[in-house]
C-alpha cells in the first residue's frame, strides 16, 4: 500500500523539483556559511599555534579598560611591561629563553599617492626587529638587511607592495608620533612564502625606536615571551612567571595566547557566518510556504486517488504516514543536495578569501554542520507538509466518487484566529516596547512573530479584495480580467504564495524605513543642534591612534573668521565601573557648538578632576552633581572626577565630557575631531582653505562640513541597506520559485479550462498575458503585504530604538522601487507557466479529464 502511495509522489516529481529547489537554496546557503566560517577559523587557530610554537608562556600588563574591538585581543597595546619586570623574568627557573617583545597596532605607512595605506580591518602593526633574525621560527628577511639605524625600517612584503616601495626607498610613517621619514632597509615575510598571517601589515624598527613610537616611551615592552626548558610544562612555567611578576600582569600559556589571539578574529568570523546562516534560514523559512503550497495542491489534486486508497481500506494513519514520508524523503534529498552545493560554495568562498590574505586549508566539515543542515532542511519540509498531510488523512472514501472541485471552505475561522494573533503581537509590542531594548528582545521578537503569523492567516481574506482592486488596472481587456478572477479564485493558495514574498519584503521595508529614519534624524540633528560650519575629521578606518594634536586648535583659533572651535578627543574608558566612551574637550566651546543646556549644575570650561555627565549616563548610574566618579584610562592611573554638571538631553553629545588635561592616559594623545564655527557664512570658504593648509601634512585628517558628514553617513547607511537587500534577494528568489510553482500547478489543474478558452478563440499571446497578470498580481499582493508589515516593523523599531534620535520617515521612493521590483519578479515568474499555457494542445486539453 505504502509503496503504491509513494509511487504517487514520484509521478509528481517534476512538480516537486521546484519546492525542492527552495530547500536546496536555503540549506546550501546555510552550510556554505558555516563550512567557510569553520575553515577560516581553523586556519587562524592553526596559524597562531604555529606562530606561538616557541612561546610556552607570555607575560602582558593587565588592563581594566574595555577593548575597542569587541573580541578578546586588542592589537593596540596600552599597558606595557617595564624593563625591570622584563629583567626580573630573565633567568626564570625552567625557562630556556626569555624574549621581551615590542609589537602594537598603529603603524601607518604613507604610500606613493600621499595617502595612508589602508588595511580594511586587520591591524597595522609596528614593532622591534628581532635581535637575531636567523633564529626566529617564523619571520624571515626576503630582501636587504634588518634596521640598524634609528631611521631604518623593515616592511612586511604585503605592505611594501601596497605602498609601492622597496629597499632603499624613503617612506613616511605615522605612529603615536606624527609622520616621520625612514629608509626601507629590508623586506620581510613569513617562512613558507606567506606575506602576512591574516592581512595585517608590519613595520619593524630598531628596538628603542619601536618602544618610543609604538609604546610611547623607551625601555618598555608590549609582552615577554618565555620558552620552556625541556621537561617543563606550560602550566608550570606560567605559574612560576606569575609568581615573579605579581598581580599587575597577566601570564598566559602558549596555548592560551593562541586562543586569545584567534578569538578576536573568530568572534568577527562567527558574526559573519552566523549572519549568512540567518539568511539561509530565512530562505528555508520562505521555502516552507512553497512546500506547504505544493503539498496542499498535490493533495487537492490527488484527493480522488487518496480516497480510492481509503475505500480499499487504507486507514487514516497510513495516508498520513505516506504523505509525511513523501515530505521526509523530499526534505532529506533536497537537504543533501543543498549540503553538497553548500560545500562547493564554501570551498569557493574560502579560496576567494585566501586570495585576499586569509589563512585556510582543506575544507573543515564538522559533523554538526552536516547534522544541523540536514535536520533544518528536513524538519522544515516535514513540518510544512504536516497540515496538508492531516488534510489528506481526512479525505473520506466517498470523495473518490465526488467531483474533485469542491467549494472553498469559509475563511472566517482562519481570519479571526489570525486577527487574534496579530492583536496579541501588537499588545506585546505596546506593553513591553516602552521599556528599554535589552530587557525585551524576546518579547519584541515574539510580538513581531505573532503579528507576522497572524498576517499570514489574515492574508487569504485580504487576497480577493486586494488583488481585485489592483486588478482594476488590467481589467479593461479580457485576458487581464480572467487573470484577476483566477487570482481571486483560491484565496488560500494566492495568499500563501504571496506570503513567501512577504517575508523578504517585510524585512527589506523595515530596514528601509529604519535607515531613512536614521538619515532624517541625522539631518535634523545637524540642522537643529549642531552649530558648527566646518569639521576636522579623522578617517575612521585609521584606527584608534590616528588624529591630530589638540594643540592644533590654538592655530585654528588664530585663523581670521573663526569664532569658536573645539577639538574632541574620544576614547573608551572605565567610568564608574562601566565601559564608556568619554570626550575630552573645551566644554565652554562645546556648549556653543552643540547648543548644550545644563539639566543640573553648570556647563563651563572643565578643570582637571572635573566631569560633566550626559543625560543618559547620569540616569543609568544615578550620579548627581557633586558626586565623584572614578575613571580608568587605557594608559593612565585611575582618577576621581567630580561631577559639576549634567547635560540636558542632546542628540550630538551622548557621552560624558572631561577636561583635556585628564586625557593623558587615553590610547592616543591625538584628537579625532574638531568643530569650528565662523563669524559669518562668507568666512566659510576662506577658513576652509586655511584649515586645509593646516592639516595638509596629515593624510588621515580632512576638512569636512556638516552636510558632507550627513552625506557620508547616508552613503554608509545606503551601503548597508544594499548589502542587506542583496542577501534578502535570496528569499525573494525562493518566493519567485513559489509563484512559478503555484502557477505551473494551476495551469496544469486548469488544462480543460484553458483548452476551452483556446477553442473559443483566445490566441496564444493572450493566454500568456492572462497567466502573467496572475503572476504579477500575486507578487504585487505579496509585496504590498510585506510593505505594510515592513513599514509597521520599521515604525516599531524607530519607536523602540529611537527616542528622538530617529525621525520617523517613510521612504516612498524605496517603497515604489520595491513595488516595481515585485512587478518585475512577477513578470519573470510568469515566463515558464505562461509559456506552458500558451503551448497547450487545444484538443488534448478539451479531451482532458
Amino acid at each position: 500500500m505504502l509503496k503504491a502511495m509513494l509511487r504517487g509522489l514520484f509521478a509528481h516529481k517534476l512538480r516537486l523539483i521546484l519546492s525542492a529547489l527552495a530547500i536546496i537554496l536555503g540549506t546550501a546557503f546555510m552550510s556554505a556559511a558555516f563550512v567557510s566560517g569553520d575553515t577560516i577559523s581553523k586556519g587562524f587557530t592553526d596559524l597562531f599555534s604555529t606562530i606561538n610554537e616557541d612561546i610556552d608562556a607570555q607575560v602582558t600588563a593587565k588592563s581594566d579598560v574595555p577593548s575597542l574591538e569587541g573580541g578578546g585581543g586588542e592589537a593596540l597595546v596600552t599597558k606595557v611591561v617595564p624593563q625591570d619586570v622584563a629583567d626580573k623574568l630573565k633567568g626564570l627557573d625552567g625557562a630556556e629563553s626569555v624574549t621581551p617583545q615590542v609589537v602594537s597596532d598603529g603603524a601607518r605607512v604613507i604610500g606613493k599617492d600621499g595617502k595612508v595605506v589602508a588595511s580594511n580591518g586587520p591591524p597595522r602593526l609596528g614593532g622591534a626587529w628581532p635581535a637575531n633574525i636567523n633564529e626566529d621560527p617564523n619571520l624571515e628577511l626576503r630582501l636587504g638587511t634588518g634596521p640598524t639605524a634609528p631611521d631604518q625600517v623593515v616592511l612586511s612584503a604585503n605592505l611594501a607592495k601596497s605602498a609601492g616601495v622597496t629597499v632603499g626607498d624613503k617612506v613616511e610613517i605615522i605612529t603615536l608620533q606624527p609622520r616621520r621619514t625612514f629608509t626601507v632597509s629590508g623586506i620581510s615575510g613569513y617562512k613558507g612564502g606567506r606575506d602576512s598571517l591574516g592581512g595585517e601589515t608590519f613595520v619593524y624598527f630598531t628596538l628603542p625606536v619601536a618602544q618610543e613610537l609604538m609604546l610611547g616611551t623607551t625601555g618598555v615592552y608590549s609582552n615577554v615571551d618565555i620558552k620552556a626548558a625541556p621537561g617543563v610544562s606550560q602550566e608550570t612555567l606560567k605559574q612560576r612567571a606569575q609568581a615573579v611578576v605579581g598581580d599587575g600582569y597577566t601570564v598566559r600559556t602558549g596555548e592560551e595566547t593562541s586562543q586569545e589571539q584567534a578569538s578576536g578574529i573568530q568572534s568577527f568570523l562567527s558574526i559573519f557566518s552566523t549572519g549568512l546562516a540567518v539568511f539561509g534560514f530565512l530562505a528555508l523559512f520562505t521555502g516552507a510556504f512553497l512546500i506547504f503550497n505544493t503539498f496542499s495542491m498535490l493533495i487537492a489534486q490527488r484527493t480522488r486517488e487518496l480516497a480510492l486508497y481509503r475505500s480499499f481500506g487504507a486507514n487514516r494513519g497510513q495516508v498520513l504516514r505516506s504523505v509525511l514520508l513523501e515530505s521526509l524523503l523530499l526534505g532529506l534529498a533536497a537537504s543533501i543536495v543543498g549540503l553538497l552545493i553548500g560545500f562547493g560554495l564554501g570551498w569557493l568562498l574560502t579560496r576567494l578569501l585566501r586570495s585576499t590574505g586569509f589563512p585556510g586549508g582543506a575544507l573543515v566539515i564538522s559533523p554538526w554542520v552536516v547534522i544541523g543542515t540536514l535536520f533544518a532542511g528536513t524538519i522544515i519540509t516535514v513540518l510544512s507538509a504536516l497540515a496538508p498531510a492531516l488534510r489528506a488523512s481526512r479525505v473520506a472514501p466517498i470523495e473518490a466518487m465526488r467531483d474533485a472541485a469542491k467549494p472553498d471552505k469559509p475563511l472566517r475561522r482562519l481570519t479571526t484566529f489570525g486577527l487574534i494573533l496579530m492583536a496579541v503581537g501588537i499588545a506585546l509590542l505596546i506593553l513591553k516596547g516602552t521599556k528599554t531594548l535589552e530587557d525585551n528582545v524576546l518579547t519584541l521578537g515574539g510580538g513581531c512573530l505573532f503579528i507576522f503569523i497572524g498576517a499570514v492567516m489574515v492574508a487569504p481574506a485580504l487576497s480577493r479584495p486586494i488583488t481585485g482592486t489592483i486588478g482594476k488596472l488590467v481589467d479593461w481587456a479580457t485576458p487581464g480580467r480572467l487573470g484577476v478572477r483566477n487570482t481571486g479564485r483560491n484565496p488560500r493558495r494566492t495568499a500563501l504564495t504571496a506570503a513567501a514574498l512577504m517575508i523578504g519584503v517585510t524585512l527589506a521595508t523595515g530596514a528601509g524605513v529604519f535607515a531613512s529614519s536614521v538619515k532624517a534624524g541625522l539631518s535634523d540633528i545637524f540642522a537643529s543642534e549642531l552649530n558648527a560650519d566646518l569639521i576636522l575629521q579623522t578617517d575612521f578606518t585609521a584606527g584608534p591612534t590616528a588624529g591630530f594634536q589638540p594643540a592644533l586648535m590654538d592655530q585654528v583659533r588664530q585663523i581670521p573668521g573663526v569664532s569658536t572651535a573645539a577639538a574632541l578627543q574620544t576614547d573608551g574608558v572605565k567610568l564608574a565601573n562601566r565601559d564608556e566612551f568619554v570626550v575630552a574637550t573645551d566644554a565652554k566651546a562645546a556648549q556653543t557648538l552643540f547648543t548644550l543646556e545644563p539639566r543640573e549644575g553648570e556647563i563651563r570650561e572643565l578643570n582637571s578632576g572635573e566631569i560633566i555627565l550626559n543625560d543618559g549616563f547620569a540616569t543609568k548610574t544615578g550620579l548627581k552633581v557633586g558626586d565623584t566618579a572614578t575613571m580608568q584610562t587605557a594608559r593612565g592611573e585611575a582618577k576621581d572626577l567630580k561631577v559639576i554638571g549634567i547635560l540636558a538631553s542632546s542628540q550630538v553629545v551622548t557621552n560624558p565630557l572631561i577636561s583635556p588635561a585628564d586625557a593623558s592616559g587615553f590610547r592616543s594623545p591625538l584628537a579625532q575631531q574638531a568643530y569650528i564655527k565662523v563669524t559669518d557664512p562668507a568666512q566659510i570658504e576662506p577658513v576652509r582653505t586655511q584649515l586645509k593648509t593646516l592639516v595638509a601634512d596629515n593624510p588621515e585628517v580632512s576638512v569636512s562640513d556638516p552636510s558632507a558628514q550627513i552625506k557620508q553617513a547616508t552613503t554608509f547607511l545606503d551601503l548597508m541597506l544594499n548589502v542587506l537587500n542583496v542577501l534578502l534577494g535570496l528569499t525573494i528568489l525562493v518566493a519567485v520559485l513559489g509563484v512559478i510553482n503555484t502557477l505551473l500547478l494551476s495551469v496544469f489543474e486548469r488544462t480543460r479550462e484553458l483548452g476551452l478558452l483556446r477553442a473559443i478563440g483566445m490566441n496564444r499571446s493572450r493566454m500568456g498575458w492572462m497567466i502573467t497578470v496572475e503572476a504579477v498580481l500575486i507578487s504585487v499582493f505579496g509585496a504590498l503585504l510585506g510593505m505594510v508589515l515592513g513599514t509597521a516593523l520599521g515604525i516599531t523599531l524607530v519607536k523602540i530604538f529611537g527616542g528622538n534620535f530617529l525621525k520617523l520617515t517613510i521612504p516612498w521612493g524605496y517603497l515604489i522601487a520595491t513595488l516595481v521590483l515585485a512587478v518585475i519578479a512577477g513578470l519573470i515568474a510568469a515566463l515558464l507557466p505562461a509559456w506552458r499555457a500558451a503551448r497547450l494542445n487545444v484538443l488534448q486539453a478539451i479531451a482532458y479529464e
Partner: protein, 247 residues
C-alpha cells in the same frame, strides 16, 4: 447557396506504424447554411474527429476543410484561432464554462476575446430564448447542469457564428433538460437561420435535425433528411451500426 462548412475527401490518421489509427477515411461533407445537421455513429467511428477537423481544432492528414469562403486547411495556429474566434461557436458535452465568470460574462466571452461589442438586441433575444434572464449574475457552480448547457448555447449563439459545433451537448443531461436544449437549438436554426452541426448518440436528439449523417469506421455510410426518431432508429438497425451508450 454556398455551404457553411465543407469537408472534401478528408483523411485523418493518428500515430504511426503499429499504433496507427485511421479515424477518417475520405469523408466529404457539405454542411448547409441555415440548417441543423446531426452526425451519428457508433463510438470510435470518428464523429468527434470529424467535428474537430471541421471546426479548425485539429488538422487533417489529407483533404480540405472550408468554413464559409475561408480555407481552413493549411492555416497556422494563429490563423485557426482567428477563424474560430470569428466564425465558429462551440458547445461541448461538459465543462463548457469558466467557473470564475458569471453566466453573462461567459456568454459574452467570445465577443470579449474578439474585442467586439455585443449587439444588444440580439443578446436580449438570445437570453430570452434560452430563458436565462434571471440567472445572468450566477456563477456556473450555482447553476444546474441543464442551465449550464443553456449558458453554453447562449454563448455559442451570441457572436452569431458561421457555424456552431456541438459535441453531444445533451450527453450529460436528463431527458427534460436535454429536450430544452434541443428545442432551443432547433429554434435558433428555424427562427434565426443559425447553422448547427451536432454530434449525438441519441436518435431522439437527432430527430430535431434537418439532416442526419451516419458515420461508420471513418466513412459516411448514409444520411437521412427531416428524420423522425423512429426513422433514425430504423436506419441504425438497417445499417447494423451498434450505437455506443452515451458516456
Amino acid at each position: 447557396m454556398s455551404a457553411a462548412a465543407r469537408a472534401v475527401d478528408v483523411w485523418k490518421v493518428y500515430g504511426v506504424g503499429e499504433a496507427q489509427v485511421i479515424a477518417l477515411r475520405g469523408v466529404s461533407l457539405e454542411v448547409e447554411r441555415g440548417k441543423f445537421t446531426a452526425i451519428m455513429g457508433p463510438s470510435g467511428s470518428g464523429k468527434s474527429t470529424l467535428m474537430h477537423c471541421l471546426a479548425g481544432l485539429d488538422s487533417v492528414t489529407r483533404g480540405q476543410v472550408m468554413i464559409g469562403e475561408a480555407m481552413v486547411t493549411g492555416l497556422s495556429d494563429a490563423g485557426l484561432t482567428k477563424l474560430r474566434r470569428e466564425k465558429v461557436g462551440f458547445i461541448f458535452q461538459q465543462f463548457n464554462l469558466l467557473p470564475t465568470l458569471t453566466a453573462e460574462e461567459n456568454i459574452l466571452l467570445p465577443l470579449a476575446i474578439a474585442g467586439r461589442k455585443p449587439d444588444q438586441e440580439w443578446y436580449q433575444t438570445v437570453i430570452n430564448t434560452v430563458g436565462l434572464a434571471d440567472r445572468l449574475s450566477h456563477r456556473p457552480s450555482q447553476l444546474s447542469g441543464g442551465q449550464q448547457q443553456r449558458v453554453a448555447c447562449a454563448r455559442a449563439l451570441a457572436s452569431r457564428p458561421e457555424v456552431i459545433f456541438a459535441d453531444e451537448p445533451t450527453g450529460n443531461l436528463d431527458s427534460r433538460s436535454g429536450a430544452d436544449i434541443l428545442s432551443f437549438l432547433r429554434r435558433s436554426v428555424s427562427e434565426y437561420g443559425q447553422t448547427i452541426v451536432m454530434v449525438t448518440h441519441d436518435a431522439n436528439a437527432a430527430s430535431y435535425a434537418d439532416r442526419v449523417v451516419f458515420l461508420g469506421d471513418g466513412r459516411i455510410v448514409d444520411e437521412l433528411h427531416s428524420p423522425t426518431a423512429e426513422a433514425v432508429l430504423d436506419k441504425i438497425k438497417s445499417l447494423d451500426l451498434t450505437v455506443g451508450a452515451p458516456e
